[in-house]
Subunit: 408 residues, 2 copies
């Protein structure tokens, strides 16, 4: 297996990709608010979108454009989500695609569009259109950082990464950037992730890989259980690394898959770690379940329980709340076999539940472990061999403070 290495970079690190981020005028702060990601040749692509039925106009448009899996550019604006904007929203999203296509001399159906920010306001199309022209002129192989800045809203940190892995003795690069807020602004949409790669990869396999990875990464994080109107994860692969086509039968496919999984897991975890108000980064591992579905249900239920989240904020080892949240998750398990352990940063492990009942664990040791920032809750069903991991955060005073106050 060829190990991947992390390099300094982002979405335009893979060969044949350019990117840019500029200020169009939508954000009053003067910060970047419009980004472009461009491949010199049409790239095999795929994207997954929010399942929210009140999805935004750019989601509707992009769902249609991604169908043939050929995309050459992604345009993203931040500061305005173009959601709940009716027929005007749809025509604005379409105009964003056509203006981008014309600036880059490509076909409009090879452009996907994403918007993130306030819900319910019409886009200021004059600013957006001149911004797109400006962003097209600014496209550069060194544009990753500016592009990453252009898609964030209330994020405290930029989320950008690039890794390299050798396939068929060719260097294959994967770049990525993400945006994830804690929805700290009223009516803010949540997350967005763009992955680029110069890998030569089979179209169907790319689609499979993104679906599979999204299930294991972005779909396993939770900040507050609210699924936004604008979520999108998109990948573009332009083949410029000239490796033999990657598919399920390629001898080095697992090396690529591992690198791809790492990039997406890194970005997903960065979103959770950046949650304003959060004082803890929580990993939940549910292991030895009969089915993957049950492992996932239990892991997500623990991470979305307000009672578990407040007790983690309070650094209390309330095993009863954890067990209760597994109980109502819909997961199939045998409570009499269940084990729950707390694992600290240094892998110190304290088993708090055995055979579905409390162990005689040391309350002081548990209290000390729960003072750490990174905490793992390990749940062992002891009935099968399926495992699932999910990530989340605690529920703090600051979460309530931030989300109950008005930001104009």
């Amino acid at each position: 297996m060829n190990k991947y290495i992390v390099i300094d970079g982002g979405v335009s690190s893979p060969k044949g990709f350019l990117s840019s981020g500029i200020h169009s005028g939508v954000k009053k702060s003067g910060k970047n608010d419009l980004s472009l990601v461009y491949s010199e040749v049409p790239a095999y692509s795929w994207a997954m979108f929010t399942t929210n039925k009140a999805c935004a106009a750019p989601v509707t448009l992009s769902k249609s454009h991604i169908q043939d899996q050929n995309i050459q550019a992604i345009v993203i604006n931040s500061g305005n989500a173009n959601a709940c904007t009716g027929q005007k929203g749809l025509s604005d999203a379409y105009e964003m695609a056509t203006v981008t296509a014309s600036a880059l001399n490509i076909a409009p159906q090879n452009v996907i569009v994403s918007s993130t920010g306030l819900i319910g306001l019409p886009l200021e199309m004059d600013k957006i259109k001149s911004g797109i022209t400006k962003a097209a002129e600014a496209l550069s192989a060194n544009g990753s950082k500016e592009a990453a800045k252009g898609i964030i809203t209330t994020d405290a940190h930029l989320k950008t990464i690039a890794v390299q892995v050798t396939i068929d003795n060719k260097v294959v690069t994967i770049g990525g950037m993400a945006k994830g807020s804690r929805m700290i602004h009223p009516q803010m949409a949540t997350m967005l992730s763009i992955i680029t790669t110069d890998a030569n990869i089979d179209k169907a396999y790319l689609k499979y890989l993104l679906n599979d990875t999204t299930e294991k990464t972005y779909n396993m994080i939770s900040i507050d259980g609210d699924t936004s109107t604008n979520d999108m994860v998109a990948v573009m692969a332009n083949g410029k690394a000239c490796n033999n086509e990657l598919n399920a039968n390629h001898p080095e496919v697992q090396s690529f898959a591992n690198a791809f999984a790492f990039v997406n897991e890194y970005l997903a975890k960065s979103i959770v770690a950046d949650g304003e108000g959060a004082t803890k980064f929580i990993e939940v591992q549910v292991v030895n379940s009969n089915t993957l579905a049950s492992a996932k249900l239990a892991a997500k239920s623990i991470l979305t329980s307000n009672l578990v989240k407040t007790s983690l904020f309070g650094e209390e080892s309330n095993w009863g709340r954890i067990l209760c949240s597994i109980g109502y998750s819909g997961a199939q398990f045998d409570v009499d076999k269940l084990e729950i352990s707390l694992v600290g940063d240094n892998k110190e492990t304290i088993k708090i539940v055995e055979n579905g009942q409390s162990t005689i664990f040391c309350k002081e040791s548990a209290k000390k472990l729960l003072k750490e920032r990174n905490i793992t809750i390990l749940v062992d069903f002891k009935t099968g061999s399926q495992n699932s991991i999910a990530w989340g955060c605690d529920l703090s005073h600051d979460y309530v403070k931030i989300n109950s106050s008005h930001i104009s």
Copy 2:
């Protein structure tokens, strides 16, 4: 239609019912912690229980005893939930039934058992057993209030009610009591409701009525989305009012059903209103849906969204968060037809969303309306004729404070 009237009373107000509440010693505070409800004759009965797979021992026992629908006594202890207590928990629950049966000279399978309080501790059976004897001696037609005291944990207010309605020119009485905490104590179970009536009622119809009413009342309240290990709603009907048997064809059945619904809705709302930390009582009405299922999904989703709940605490009219929570609820609706209004105590109505987009509503008026304690969110799907109502509360600083602190 015969209108019901509310009288001063509770579970032993209906003819032929006695009740009591005493201090057995489980609660350190010296407050009542064990209650008995007894019918002089076996009563047609039914009960619904938590769907949590990690259900408590008394739930397992009571599920079995309720099958034949003949119950003569309910014994409830508070302070210890007898949950996650393994084989000992089951034999303790069974012993509670046999000791009660022997004190009352009835059959053990005609007793149901309920426990509420801390999870994971073994019951102190010596205290419980002598407590049951004491409670049997204290049984009285005036015991409703003491019984209601014996089942609460951290509730601020007693929840007890009785109503009377005339059926076949006979006075039929329905009594009830409930317990509902905000799960403010670590590992606390949530809710419990006991209804008694002297109505003469068909066994199958009684079962139907409780199932139907529970779906519309207890199953439509949410405080924090956590389903406890011990929830139970039980009804006993002993026929002592001597009306003609109530069933679907009885000419006055709707009068009884209305009174029965009122009692259960009153107790369900009392649980939500008693939420420590809550500053708002929220009613959500979803109307004109194509299906009842979609109306219920949307109503519950709004009430369990942390983002909606924090904005209500902050008295902000964040219509985007409400629309977003409907979008991910799984409900079928047409976003372009959707209307959302806020309704205040005095029925003042402000329409904030029309055709899926924000109206130009007055922010100051909305702010003023949201300062009231009782707020209704009215969602009109405008596609059908099915309606659903749900009740909940806001998410406040005090909720986080209470649930992140340890109470020994």
